[in-house]
Subunit: 217 residues, 2 copies
Amino acid sequence: MSGLPEIPDATVARLPIYRRSLVQLISSGESTASSADLADLAGVNAAKVRKDLSYLGTYGVRGVGYDAEMLLIQIDRALGLEFETPVVIVGMGNLGQALAHYGGFQSKGFPIVALVDASDDKVGQEIDGLTVSHFDDLARTVSENGISVGIIATPADAAQKVCDALVDAGVRSILTFAPTVLQLPDSVPVRKVDLATELQILGYYQQREGGEDAETA
Amino acid sequence: MSGLPEIPDATVARLPIYRRSLVQLISSGESTASSADLADLAGVNAAKVRKDLSYLGTYGVRGVGYDAEMLLIQIDRALGLEFETPVVIVGMGNLGQALAHYGGFQSKGFPIVALVDASDDKVGQEIDGLTVSHFDDLARTVSENGISVGIIATPADAAQKVCDALVDAGVRSILTFAPTVLQLPDSVPVRKVDLATELQILGYYQQREGGEDAETA
DNA sequence: CCCTGTGAAGCAGTTCACAGCG
DNA sequence: CGCTGTGAACTGCTTCACAGGG
């Protein structure tokens, strides 16, 4: 599709952080951003910022820095943020409901346009202006709303079934909170967030006090 | 403190997944687990499982596999899961409340023992059997309850202040959901979970359809 | 003279392939 | 003979250090 030059995974994972830093700089009135400025806000070193940004193309000016607006546009282009990406949340338990209420997605270009659950108590209920629809209608829900991202917020034992249904329905990527490994085609990228796992990882570093560090992507 | 042999970060991040897989095998009646079994359930390859587990010591039996119970004990020891680790959640917005209700922590050895907020609407409220206490009393809350992990579920602009207060109060590690970079001493390990960032990362891979993959730690 | 862009060196993590033990 | 444990090769990421343009 795009003739983009293939960006390393580690760099991709940092682009959103640079984006956030850049927005901060812009809103505080800066029109240019040096790699040192960005490094500072993003919590990494300047060499890494420059190497990372070089994968987007040559948008810096030697002796000056990066044009802030221009760089923001380039990052957005790389991340596919030029257009809004509609999202469906499957699973209206505590987490799913919290995600539905959470404004952070909306404002970052990922409007939540549908909520889905399999239980009769939940279906029909109105949450944050949306009516919860039934899991059996997922395919229709996805196609009618042009949904491209599915968020799985169900218990582990339902997750694979939900995942299969989302893929069948045609979502193009998945974010899962279910503590289980999902089987799915390589063509559908997944990100996994597992809260208990995060705490367990901290346990290791906490135990070896004076601990080095425990960075997350 | 512990004479443990220092486990690579990438391996530490996978131990919780192996643990989960192991528990699954045990509960389905297996008493031994081969690296291939675990690899299968954990979604990685067998060589990686063996290399990872070798950092814990030599607990496998050639020709047979690993003793499931024994391996579980070793993983728990490495992750410091032998004892319960009490947790405080700071920030009782949507996310904080959802986390407070979420049973997954309790059952994995991380009981939530205190909830904290700075707003008068929230303080005093009862959520899931706990009364929300005031942010100003954080130090006392932490020490009285022997809390060692703090979860930050506040908006970005409050996060640094909360982080500082948690560190001062003596928590030994932090899990943050706030979309901002935190400044804190190396002695306190942090993990960051940023939901909007995850979606933005997916955007990149989704865009280059047929996409390689987007793995999370 | 400042700050970018990048080869080259260094380091960490993964995968391979096989020796070795039960 | 099966499955672990591990050196060795390899791949990818980070850091360094500096050449080069404004």
